[in-house]
């Protein structure tokens, strides 16, 4: 259930952010109200970004143990780690 809740939370924040943009674009709001919306929007975007980046990059094996419970093991020969090509590309991308 955890994964679903996280996703729902994110999607709700995302939709709220969308709504704020629409309201600001669509209506002539009083200044302090638009400032409030602005603050709320910034807060939501921070939350979204945090969520987007908070999962640690990792590659693992997952399988069921004898009792049918998840068992996580390291995935040893991840080809991503051997790639100097990828690193080069990253540097190029960031330029």
């Amino acid at each position: 259930m955890a994964a679903r809740t996280r996703t729902n939370e994110f999607e709700k924040s995302f939709q709220q952010l969308e709504k704020i943009v629409q309201r600001l674009e669509g209506e002539e709001l009083p200044l302090d109200e638009s400032l409030q919306l602005f603050e709320e929007g910034i807060r939501l975007s921070r939350f979204c970004h945090q969520r987007l980046e908070e999962v640690e990059k990792k590659i693992e094996l997952i399988l069921a143990d004898a009792k049918g419970q998840p068992k996580v093991e390291p995935f040893e020969d991840a080809p991503v780690d051997d790639g100097e090509d990828e690193d080069d590309d990253l540097e190029l991308d960031s330029e």
Partner: protein
């Protein structure tokens, strides 16, 4: 007359079966009819053409390897041994293998399952789960040593931030593959640890991809509570798994692309929203500020600050002069205080001088006092007519018979004027004249 030899029934059937031995391995093509299946798993049916039909038995030992299902109307090539069933004398074909005519067996099995599941509604768009906005925790059901996982990791490699990938290792070909894949899906679905499940396998023959066409996999994919993306084989390969999954990716790499793109799309959109909000609000604040500045610089409102400034300046000036005044006073007082020692010492002497002067003044005062004149015997006459006592200086000021008052040194006399004489102003009393009283 040669009488025919009389056989027992079993003798004859055995004899004919021996003769039929040359049909020990033949193949016959015909359309299936009267198909039944026993509880033990043996299949009984007939094959026919336009003129004839014959019985076929497919025992469970041989039926086990069948990929497709035998149905009435199916055009089959049945391979086996012709024989007469000894107990009943039925002429029948004991099938060792059965293949569909025209199509390959796998192709047929695929078509059959596809048709069946379609009828059940398993491929309906309505029952497809939407992918999460950004799938972050990704499960991949695949072989940990296969080409598919390599392709996926290669695609994710350079844009991997904020994603976690867990590989559920399964065999992706061979007789146990389908069951392993189905079990993996069941576990993942129950654990609910992931946002999305990728079901992947690299390219191969139809035979290689077969596990992804098996019903048990199709059912497990359909039952998954987590959205599924299927990426099996090359672009041209279509599996049942592809059809049941919530999304079909043409290849494993494409499945990874979908996941990555979802995330970067969301990122982009969030950033866009923030830029938009900022732009709008900053624009508005800028406008207000501009208007405000404009208002402040106009004459009407400009007066106010100027007036305030003037007042403030005046206040400041007053405060300064007040300070100066107070300082002057303070300086003076301080100087006096400093000078105090000497004047205080001089003070008694000064009092003595003053007292002496006062005595002088008193003596003078006494000399001119009317009282001192009275004490020398003079008297003052006052008119009593008026309210105030007025000294009478001229006999014309009083009438005869008018009451007057005479002030002596001690006491007063109340008198009446008996008579009066007009005269010149008296000279200070001569010695030879009596005072006229």
């Amino acid at each position: 007359m040669n009488a025919p030899r009389v056989f027992t029934v079993s003798e004859l059937i055995r004899q004919v079966n021996l003769d039929l031995f040359r049909y020990n391995d033949i193949a016959v093509e015909g359309e299936v009819t009267n198909y039944t299946r026993s509880a033990a798993g043996h299949s009984y049916f007939s094959i026919k053409d336009t003129r004839s039909q014959m019985k076929v038995v497919l025992f469970v030992t041989n039926a086990r390897f069948l990929r497709f299902k035998i149905e009435n109307g199916l055009q089959l090539i049945v391979r086996g041994r012709l024989a007469i069933y000894e107990q009943k004398g039925d002429f029948q074909l004991n099938a060792t293998s059965v293949e569909p005519a025209g199509l390959g067996a796998l192709q047929l099995a695929f078509e059959q399952l596809k048709k069946r599941l379609a009828e059940e509604g398993l491929f309906d768009a309505a029952r497809k789960k939407p992918l999460p906005m950004f799938p972050q925790r990704i499960a991949v059901v695949t072989s940990p040593t296969g080409a598919a996982i390599r392709d996926i990791l290669h695609v994710l490699g350079r844009r991997f931030a904020g994603l976690s990938l867990q590989i559920y290792p399964v065999r992706v070909q061979g007789p146990t593959a389908a069951r392993e894949i189905a079990a993996a899906l069941k576990h993942l679905s129950r654990w609910e640890l992931h946002d999305v499940i990728l079901i992947c396998r690299g390219g191969g023959s139809l035979e290689d991809l077969w596990p992804f066409n098996e019903e048990v996999v199709a059912r497990a994919v359909a039952a998954s509570t987590i959205p599924t993306i299927s990426g099996v084989g090359h672009e041209t390969d279509f599996t049942i798994c592809d059809l049941v999954a919530d999304l079909r990716a043409p290849t494993p790499s494409a499945a990874a692309e979908i996941v990555i793109r979802a995330k970067s799309d969301v990122c982009t959109h969030v950033d866009y929203s923030v830029r938009r909000i900022r732009h709008i609000v900053e624009g508005r604040v800028r406008n207000y500020r501009h208007e405000l500045r404009h208002l402040a610089s106009s004459d009407r409102l400009g007066i106010l600050p100027r007036r305030i400034a003037a007042q403030r300046e005046r206040l400041q000036r007053r405060r300064m002069s007040l300070y100066r005044l107070l300082e002057g006073r303070a300086r003076l007082l301080r100087r006096r205080l400093e000078a105090t020692n000497e004047p205080l010492a001089r003070f008694p002497r000064r009092i003595g001088t003053l007292r002496h002067q006062l005595q002088g003044v008193a003596a003078t005062l006494e000399a001119v006092s009317p009282l001192s004149v009275l004490s020398r015997g003079y008297a003052i006459a006052f008119s009593r007519k008026k309210k105030h006592r007025v000294p009478i200086l001229d006999s014309n000021a009083v009438a005869v018979g008018e009451p007057i008052e005479v002030q002596l040194k001690r006491g007063q006399l109340l008198c009446t004027v008996d008579g009066k004489s007009m005269g010149v102003e008296s000279v200070w009393p001569s010695v030879n004249r009596e005072p006229e009283l």
